[in-house]
Structures are given as structure tokens and as C-alpha cells.
């Protein structure tokens, strides 16, 4: 017997309604049902961090949540981060300017993780940034440029606030 449920989920501000198999993970739902392939699938056991999305503004591993558990929730994926006019937001722009990505595989998870982090701490130290991204693996950059991008984004955020 195939167990299914009807779910209503808001993703990047848009409401979706779908009938899903209850064993479907949230990341597979985003990619296969909604065609939002910006969220990547890596280890599928919560270690690599590439599938990180924001669930009601809190970061979570989309491979460790079932799609049914997102019923009634608001999800933000990497596709939802850009400015309304489609230009890169300040964090994405900082990644671009600091070479915060090379192959780009880890980038969606890095961006969503840092979005939550910077929302709570816009004046972090480098070591706080390193702890914040300790659950996200990058095999290209050696992290230096990602930390530099996060520090730049934090600076921009602080300047905007004042």
C-alpha cells in the first residue's frame, strides 16, 4: 500500500498544494515535485549540509525532514534569497566578490545557513562564522573565502542598519 497525504506548503512566498508519498523527504519534494533544484542533495544523512533550507526562518536539513512534516510551514530555499528584482542579495554578492564558491555544490547550504546566522548576529567574529558553517562541507575553497564573504555581508548589514 502506498501511503500518501495532501500537503500545503509555502515555498519562497508561493503556496503549493501536492499529494505526496509520506516517505518522501523534503529535499526530494523541493527538487522533484516543485522543480526547485537549487537545493542540492549530498550525503542524505545530515552531515554535508548542502540540503539546508529555512523552515519558518530556522535552518534545517531538508534530507532529515519528511515532506509531510512541512505541511503548513513556510520554506525558504536558495531560489528565494535574491532581491525582488532578481539581482543577487548582499550575501550572494559578497560570495561572488570574495570567490566564496568554486564548483558551487555547497553554496545553497552555505547561503541558507549564513542567512539564518546573520539575521541573529550581524557583528560576528571570524571564529563565530566558522562555527556557524561547521555543519557545511566545502571541498573547493578551504573556507577562507566563504568566511571572508560572510564577514563582508555582515559589514553591509550593519551599514544598512545605521
Amino acid at each position: 500500500m502506498i501511503d500518501t497525504r495532501k500537503i500545503k506548503v509555502t515555498v519562497n512566498g508561493r503556496a503549493h498544494e501536492r499529494e505526496v508519498e509520506t516517505r518522501m523527504t523534503l529535499v526530494d519534494f523541493l527538487r522533484h515535485e516543485l522543480d526547485l533544484t537549487g537545493t542540492h542533495v549530498g550525503c542524505e544523512h545530515g552531515v554535508c549540509g548542502v540540503c539546508t533550507v529555512l523552515v519558518d526562518d530556522l535552518s534545517a536539513r531538508a534530507c532529515l525532514m519528511l515532506a509531510v512534516q512541512a505541511h503548513g510551514k513556510s520554506i525558504t530555499t536558495v531560489e528565494g534569497l535574491a532581491n525582488r528584482d532578481g539581482t543577487l542579495n548582499m550575501l550572494q554578492q559578497a560570495f561572488r566578490e570574495n570567490h566564496g564558491l568554486q564548483c558551487g555544490f555547497c553554496t545553497p547550504g552555505m547561503l541558507t545557513t549564513l542567512t539564518e546566522f546573520l539575521a541573529h548576529n550581524s557583528d560576528p567574529t571570524e571564529s563565530e562564522v566558522r562555527v556557524a558553517i561547521s555543519g557545511n562541507l566545502c571541498r573547493c575553497t578551504g573556507y577562507q573565502s566563504i568566511v571572508a564573504a560572510a564577514m563582508q555581508a555582515a559589514r553591509v548589514l550593519r551599514e544598512r542598519k545605521t
Binding site: R23, M24, T25, D28, E44, G46, L58, C63, G135
Partner: protein, 291 residues
């Protein structure tokens, strides 16, 4: 789509959940999912029924006041423990211990009770329950039970829960205001499972002597173990290198297991070093070493 097929249940009350557990075969409870979801994705676990506890609001609470006890719902998120002002005030060691539990993304979902039921041998929150002389509150169709944290771990990743029984809450004994504390662990990577960990609570008297100490060692055996011999040895002593060393050596007398990566002797070595460091920090800083 990776998990094998199951029927999903999402009860909203404890009564509903224990009724489901009572009558369904091969059912597993889903708490924060930070351990069970990987097991489902790998099909290491293949339940016929998955009972999601995330919609049971009455399992999620923090009830800490100054009466010397703290009560927590089993579905209280690790994140909520980490950011609770009450927890920081009455159980200050929690923030230190939680900083080692996975990462922000996993603490946002992971729960106190989920950690207690999964029982990784080096799990920080199981250590916290044993360190604070915790009581685990359970419910089932048959009866409610209260299980001392010291009797909770029955074997490798095996709790004292009976089939059909659900962990509903955790009660901890608070230490007096101003007590010393330290949580020390050694892991190869930040947020990874520790090879060994030590939680330490200390109260000093007016004369600067150790009135009472609690030490709890994780990672050596299936569950955390109180270092009772060291706790007894420390009572009434003035903090010193010699006293701490004598207490730390007791950690080497614990049983420890070998695995493919880490020898038992190394685990014991780490337990000794971490016990020393925890004592040093919990009692207020470095002590003078005899020449």
C-alpha cells in the same frame, strides 16, 4: 525517495500516541529526526508505521524555576534549551554541552528526548541527564513510570523503555546558584561524535574547599557513567593539582570498549585528561602544580 514504505501517523495528543504504540506492530516514534531520518534513508530502520511526535504540543515545554528542579518535555528542541534564559541560569552547563551537539541546523530540529532515546554512547544530553540525577518520565497504555537516568541505558543504543512505551519528559535536579561547572570533550571534528566527554559540577564552601562534586564520563561504554569514586575523593578537599590528578586517575579504572578506530586505552586516557581539565575549570581556573 529513500526510506522504505511505512504508514505515517501524526497524533496531536500523548493519549493518541500511546494508543497507536499500543496497537501497531513494528512502529517507531519520530522525534527531531536527526538520528532516525538517516537510519530511514539508509534503510537501517524499516518500520511499518512511523509515529511522528512533532505535532504533540504538550511534549514540548521547559519548566525551570528556583525550586531546585527542572522539567522538560521530551520533544523540547535542543535549540530551545540552548537559548532559554531559565536553563542558562539554573543549568548553566547546558549551553556548554549543547555547543557540542551537532550544528545549528540539527539543533533546530533535534530534541532532548530524541537524544535520550537514540543513546549515542557519547551523547551530551544523556550525560546531562545522568550528571543531574535525572528522572525519565514515560507513558504507555499500561502505566506511567519514572526511571532514574542511571538505569536508563541498558546496552548499546538500548534504553529501559518497554515496547509501546513513550518517553514524555525529563526531570533534573538543579545545583545551588553559583555552582561551578565545565563540560569537556574530545572529537575529531567540531560537532562530530566525541571519543570521550566529561561533565562536571562543583560546589565550593566558604573556606574554599570542595563541598560536593559530580563527574559524569561519556564515550567509554554504552552510556554515561558517574565517577563515584572520584566524587567521594574530592569532597572536603582544597582544589589542587594533586587532588585533581588523583580524581582524574579514577577515570582510568572505568570499563571502556575498543572499536575499529579507537582503542579502549586511548578512551581511558582521554577520560583522565578531560576529567582533570573539567575539574580545573569548574573550580575556577588553573591550580598551582607542585614543582
Amino acid at each position: 525517495m529513500k526510506p522504505s514504505r511505512f504508514v505515517y501517523h501524526d497524533p496531536t495528543t500523548i493519549a493518541e500516541a500511546i494508543d497507536l504504540f499500543g496497537r501497531l506492530d513494528n512502529a517507531l516514534p519520530l522525534a527531531g529526526g536527526q538520528s532516525l531520518m538517516p537510519m530511514l534513508n539508509f534503510r537501517v530502520a524499516a518500520p511499518d508505521h512511523l509515529i511522528d511526535l512533532n505535532n504533540i504540543a504538550s511534549l514540548s515545554y521547559i519548566d525551570v524555576n528556583d525550586n531546585g528542579r527542572g522539567r522538560f518535555g521530551s520533544m523540547t528542541r535542543q535549540r530551545d534549551l540552548e537559548f532559554s534564559g531559565d536553563v542558562a541560569r539554573v543549568f548553566p552547563i547546558f549551553q556548554e554541552a549543547l555547543s557540542h551537539v551537532g550544528h545549528r541546523q540539527t539543533r533546530n530540529r533535534g530534541t532532548f528526548g530524541g537524544s535520550l532515546c537514540h543513546i549515542d554512547p557519547s551523547a551530551e544530553l544523556v550525560n546531562m541527564a545522568v550528571l543531574h540525577d535525572g528522572l525519565l518520565l514515560t507513558a504507555s497504555k499500561a502505566a506511567s513510570r519514572t526511571i532514574p537516568a542511571s538505569e536508563w541505558v541498558q546496552g548499546i543504543m538500548t534504553s529501559a523503555l518497554n515496547p509501546g512505551e513513550l518517553l514524555t519528559g525529563i526531570e533534573l535536579t538543579a545545583w545551588p546558584e553559583g555552582h561551578g561547572f565545565a563540560f569537556e570533550e574530545f572529537a575529531r571534528r567540531h560537532g562530530d561524535f566525541a571519543i570521550a566527554a566529561v561533565g562536571c559540577l562543583v560546589i565550593m564552601d566558604a573556606a574554599g574547599l570542595i563541598e560536593r562534586a559530580a563527574l559524569c564520563v561519556s564515550g567509554l561504554s554504552p552510556g554515561p557513567v558517574r565517577l563515584v569514586s572520584a566524587e567521594q575523593l574530592l569532597g572536603g578537599q582544597r582544589p589542587s593539582h594533586e587532588v585533581f590528578r588523583a580524581a582524574a586517575v579514577e577515570a582510568e579504572g572505568l570499563d571502556a570498549t575498543d572499536d575499529a578506530f579507537v582503542k579502549a586505552s586511548y578512551r581511558k586516557h582521554l577520560a583522565r585528561i578531560l576529567t582533570y581539565r573539567a575539574l580545573e575549570r569548574a573550580t575556577g581556573g588553573r591550580v598551582r602544580r607542585a614543582a
